[in-house]
């Protein structure tokens, strides 16, 4: 989230698209109700199902799964055509005026530079025209046909209301009604907030779904303001934290990135990461990358990281491909290329696409280690549970370890919520039996491995032997010690420009502005710097006071970065520093400095210095044109899901995301609409959380058994009764469960044809207290978003037939 949960109450229009907050984030959703009651806000819900979020909406529109970009591109077209944009904001704070290279173009579904064989783009034309100093050229008058604004107009021109309706199945009048509501928020003092979740990410165009809405928000001037923003409602209690700390194939803590094979030397690595400003006088904050990186290496390798060994640059692994995501991992496993797999609090047998492939691949491992508080399906993949998990244990040679761990109630530590707050929590009781904390287990493995490498040698032991481990109790380090390590400290006395000592050696840093690139500071995660200072654990703060009831609560816990609660908040004020909406001011220029309720997301620069508000971007502006940052294009384009009932009516030859990576075996397992005519989509129920709560008795009672949800029209057509048994099948497998026939799903007319949606809740498996189920991933295809590889769980093809009840 760019903003906070409570800040939703400041919105004039709340849009929930790509999520179902009322059911998946109930206690956060009440801020939407607050906005409606206290701020007169209108709620717009766009969803294939009439969800509980939709039930309290002012306007609800159905949409076919996987067609969101068409809808939002049509919306952009409307805003530009009716000239309902926040002009001053767009001109000053976005790259609308910047001129794109002559060589850039788009034709028949493809941007310039496509290599069909490799399914990738040469992105060299996706760039600005540069002047002789290397700065991007500008046309403030928007006359140049190659300025971003004009290219965008041209790009979205095809998305007429008729076209949107044809692709999305949304009635035109509903679409236009929603366009009008969006347009009201182009007024400088009106804000629209976008709330979304996995309904947007789990598509082969997931990242572009989100990007399209971010562009809408820039055009409306809604990024950085109270009641605005792009608010990703994250699904798990610390999925934000694990992302921040970089537990992803290609990531390092604080959004630093792991080196690629091409980054042969440390200098090569730095060259591609120290982004130079693209406009005069801009901040381009990643220019500090070297400080963050060197301080990180000092945190993990201590005195072994020196200027002479390039801060132990070579000790980090390099990647030969963009990332080893989970789809790649299981493709490798299926091919016998992976021998060991460790699952720490993760249940891939239920969570990953194409369950049959997951089960088969796990059986090819030499060893599988599962660390979890619960008895997960993954740890028992080898056991025969009948149709829900058919297996022949004698034929599976995998050694399996099931290690019992603590849960939230049994440990200290910080979790990062959706609004980037690091909230410390405390242990209430010891774990059951011999269960141990993950920290204790990782420390136990580390010590054993380090000892073996010390004694016996082996493949490149240096990073292991030199890893910092100066914890008071090395066997079971105190979480506070890791928190302090992430915050960072001075390694020598740090002096300011006047030679005054600012921090003594060994003292905790106040924030990342104190980081140096000469090895005199260390910080394990630069964006957390400030969370555990000499004043103590800031994440443990519990002062709920909220000046002006703005929804900021600046002294409750601690938010990254720098305890800033609303990202890009410089953009909440006009170029002269006056708030666009004085009634909901966040920061403003008082004539000599920036003041307000939040920590300014800016430098100390005066408005007259023309420093752009988007300081992480090298032109200082929000990007309507994404340069080379996305793999499938600098503008979003509608591509059909890989399993779709419809042709791509915009460009039939380029039906799906042309830059998505698809493994040959997975492609063979995609079904066609002729055989599987209905659109499947997965979702959560409000009474269950993934595959965890079925272990809790109350939740197992509330939603005891697997079902699919279908509309009355489809039920009638297929002779399916309420609570009758059905077989839901796809090219990859089938499940037998009950049908729940509702008025919430109605057929949509897509390209002239009726299209039915089958809803597949995802909560059941074969362990826990609920009844046995197959799991939604029995049906989902193994293909991911082209940028992130998040699997396409929200749009796939199935068939459904009435069957007799299974024999008990």
């Amino acid at each position: 989230m760019t903003n906070t949960w409570q800040d939703i109450k400041n919105a004039n229009v709340v849009v929930v698209m790509g999520g179902n907050a009322a059911e998946a984030h109930p206690c956060g959703f009440k801020w939407v109700i607050e906005a409606k009651i206290e701020n007169g806000a209108k709620l717009v819900v766009i969803d294939p199902r009439f969800t509980r979020t939709a039930s309290v909406a002012d306007v609800y529109a159905p949409i076919r799964p996987g067609s969101d970009i068409a809808f939002l591109s049509g919306l952009i077209r409307y805003l530009l055509e009716k000239d309902q944009i926040q002009h001053e904001y767009v001109r000053a704070y976005t790259n609308a005026s910047l001129i794109v290279k002559d060589g850039f173009g788009f034709e028949d579904g493809l941007f310039t530079g496509y290599d069909e064989e490799k399914r990738t783009y040469d992105k060299s034309s996706w760039d600005y025209e540069r002047d002789d100093q290397g700065f991007a050229r500008v046309d403030d008058t928007w006359q140049n046909p190659h300025c971003v604004m004009n290219l965008l107009r041209k790009h979205v021109d095809r998305y007429t209301p008729e076209m949107v309706s044809r692709i999305c199945g949304t009635p035109q009048e509903k679409f236009l009604q929603i366009c009008e509501l969006f347009a009201t928020c182009s007024a400088p003092d009106k804000a629209l907030t976008s709330l979304f979740a996995l309904g947007w990410t789990q598509h082969s165009v997931g990242a572009q779904n989100i990007r399209t809405m971010a562009m809408v928000q820039l055009l409306l001037g809604n990024i950085g303001v109270a009641g605005g923003g792009m608010n990703a409602l994250r699904g798990h209690s610390n999925i934000q934290g694990l992302t921040d700390v970089g537990l992803l194939s290609n990531a390092m803590p604080g959004y630093l990135t792991l080196a690629r094979d091409g980054d042969v030397t440390f200098d090569d690595y730095m060259r591609t990461r120290l982004f130079k400003p693209l406009r005069p006088g801009q901040v381009s904050y990643w220019q500090n990358y070297r400080k963050f990186f060197v301080s990180f290496q000092k945190a993990i390798y201590g005195s072994a990281a020196t200027a002479n060994n390039d801060w132990a640059y070579d000790w980090l692994p390099k990647l030969d491909i963009p990332l080893y995501d989970i789809i790649t991992a299981f493709e490798m496993m299926d091919k016998g290329e992976i021998n060991g797999y460790i699952c720490q609090g993760f249940n891939p047998l239920q969570a990953f696409p194409d369950k049959g492939k997951i089960r088969r691949s796990l059986g090819k491992l030499k060893y599988l280690v599962v660390m979890d508080p619960l008895d997960t399906e993954t740890s028992r993949f080898w056991e025969n549970f009948g149709p829900q998990n058919p297996s022949d244990p004698a034929s599976i040679q995998t050694e399996v370890f099931q290690l019992p761990t603590t849960c939230f109630a049994e440990e200290n530590g910080a979790l990062v919520n959706s609004a980037r707050w690091l909230q410390w929590h405390w242990k209430a009781a010891p774990p059951p039996g011999d269960a141990q904390a993950d920290i204790w287990i990782m420390a136990g493995l580390f010590h054993r491995l380090r000892e073996m490498y010390r004694k016996d040698g082996g493949a490149f032991p240096d990073p292991l032997l030199n890893l910092t481990w100066d914890y008071t109790n090395p066997v079971d380090p105190d979480p506070e010690e890791m928190a302090m390590e992430m915050n960072g400290r001075a390694l020598t006395d740090l002096k300011d420009a006047n030679g005054q000592v600012v921090l003594k050696a060994g003292q905790q840093l106040d924030g990342f502005a104190q980081l140096r690139d000469d090895g005199t500071t260390m910080s394990g995660c630069w964006i957390f710097s400030g969370s555990f200072t000499e004043k103590g654990n800031q994440m443990a703060r519990r002062d709920a006071s909220d000046p002006r009831e703005a929804g900021i609560a600046p002294n409750w816990a601690w938010a990254w970065p720098a305890n800033r609660r609303i990202l890009y908040n410089r953009a909440s004020a006009d170029p002269s520093g006056k708030p666009w909406n004085p009634a909901k001011s966040i920061i403003e220029w008082n004539g000599s400095k920036w003041v307000g309720l939040d920590v300014p997301d800016y430098t100390a620069a005066a408005p007259s210095e023309n420093v752009g508000p988007f300081i992480m971007n090298n032109e200082g502006m929000g990007r309507l044109f994404a340069l080379d940052q996305m793999v499938e294009g600098p503008f979003p384009e509608h591509y059909e899901p890989f399993e779709s009932p419809s042709e791509n009516v915009l460009h039939p030859k380029v039906k799906n995301n042309p830059a998505a990576r698809v493994y040959a075996d997975d492609r063979k397992n995609f079904g066609a609409a002729s055989e599987f005519p209905y659109v499947g989509t997965t979702y959560r129920l409000t009474e269950q959380f993934h595959f965890w709560t079925k272990h809790a008795l109350i939740n197992a009672i509330l939603q005891p058994e697997e079902f699919v949800e279908i509309g009355e029209a489809l039920a009638k057509e297929k002779g399916i009764e309420q609570a009758g048994w059905v077989r839901v099948s796809c090219k990859r497998g089938a499940m037998i469960c009950k049908a729940y026939v509702t008025k919430r799903i109605k057929p949509m007319t897509v390209d002239g044809k009726p299209t039915h949606v089958v809803g597949v809740p995802l909560h059941w498996g074969f362990t826990g207290q609920a009844r046995k189920g197959y799991g939604a991933n029995t049906l989902t295809p193994s293909v991911g978003d082209a940028n992130t590889q998040t699997p396409e769980f929200k749009a796939f093809l199935v068939n459904i037939e009435k069957v007799a009840a299974p024999v008990a």
Binding site: L233, I300, K318, F352, E383, C407, E411
Partner: protein, 197 residues
């Protein structure tokens, strides 16, 4: 002043007995009522601030456990409710958060390390020593055999592809940081978490 509900009724009854109503014979009723009410369980419990383990609204919760945290007292969680001071949830919890006590005490919580040998049809209980020794040995064998120090162009790459790891989505930052250190020091790159799913 700490006052239990039973204590409150007793005091009330005493006040009643001293009043004119007491003279009318209602005093004994108060005594009987006080005797019939169980003491309010949470007054004797320890209160711990924590965060709901499910979605990332991250509702504040209060965990109540028996035991006063003295060295030899074993705490046992008896109740969990929303934290009324929390600025986001303000004491509310959803159907999942309201049932947190049931997940803490789920019968399928794991209590001992278990091991399943190749081809075996069941788990058997093992010691932590056995489990960690065996896992570390398997990891080292695989790493030593398959570690890639240099690619074919001679560039130092120091990666280990043949063992992968998935990190959690509800573990703390501190757990994840320590996990990152260990996994990357081994050269792991087949390494991901729930954020990508």
């Amino acid at each position: 002043m700490q006052l239990s509900r039973r204590g409150f009724i007793k005091i009330t009854a005493a006040g009643l007995a001293a009043s004119s109503l007491g003279a009318l014979g209602f005093g004994g009723a108060g005594e009987a009522l006080a005797a019939s009410v169980r003491p309010f369980k949470l007054t004797a419990a320890s209160e711990t601030r924590n965060t709901c383990t499910y979605c990332s609204v991250a509702c504040g919760i209060l965990i109540y456990s028996l035991g006063d945290r003295a060295k030899n007292a074993v705490s046992d969680i008896i109740h969990i409710e929303g934290d009324p001071d929390h600025p986001v949830n303000r004491g509310t919890l959803c159907p999942k958060g309201s049932a947190l006590l049931d997940i803490v005490h789920a019968p399928t919580r794991l209590k001992v390390p278990k091991y399943r040998a190749p081809g075996a049809s069941e788990f058997k209980e093992v010691s932590w020593e056995f489990a960690l020794d065996r896992i570390a040995t398997l990891m080292k064998e695989d790493r030593d055999k398959n570690f890639i120090a240099q690619n074919k162009d001679g560039t130092t790459v120091n990666r280990w592809l043949s063992t992968g790891m998935l990190a959690a989505s509800a573990s703390s930052n501190e757990t994840s940081y320590l996990t990152w250190k260990v996994a990357r020091a081994l050269g792991m790159v087949v390494f991901d978490n729930q954020a990508r799913v």
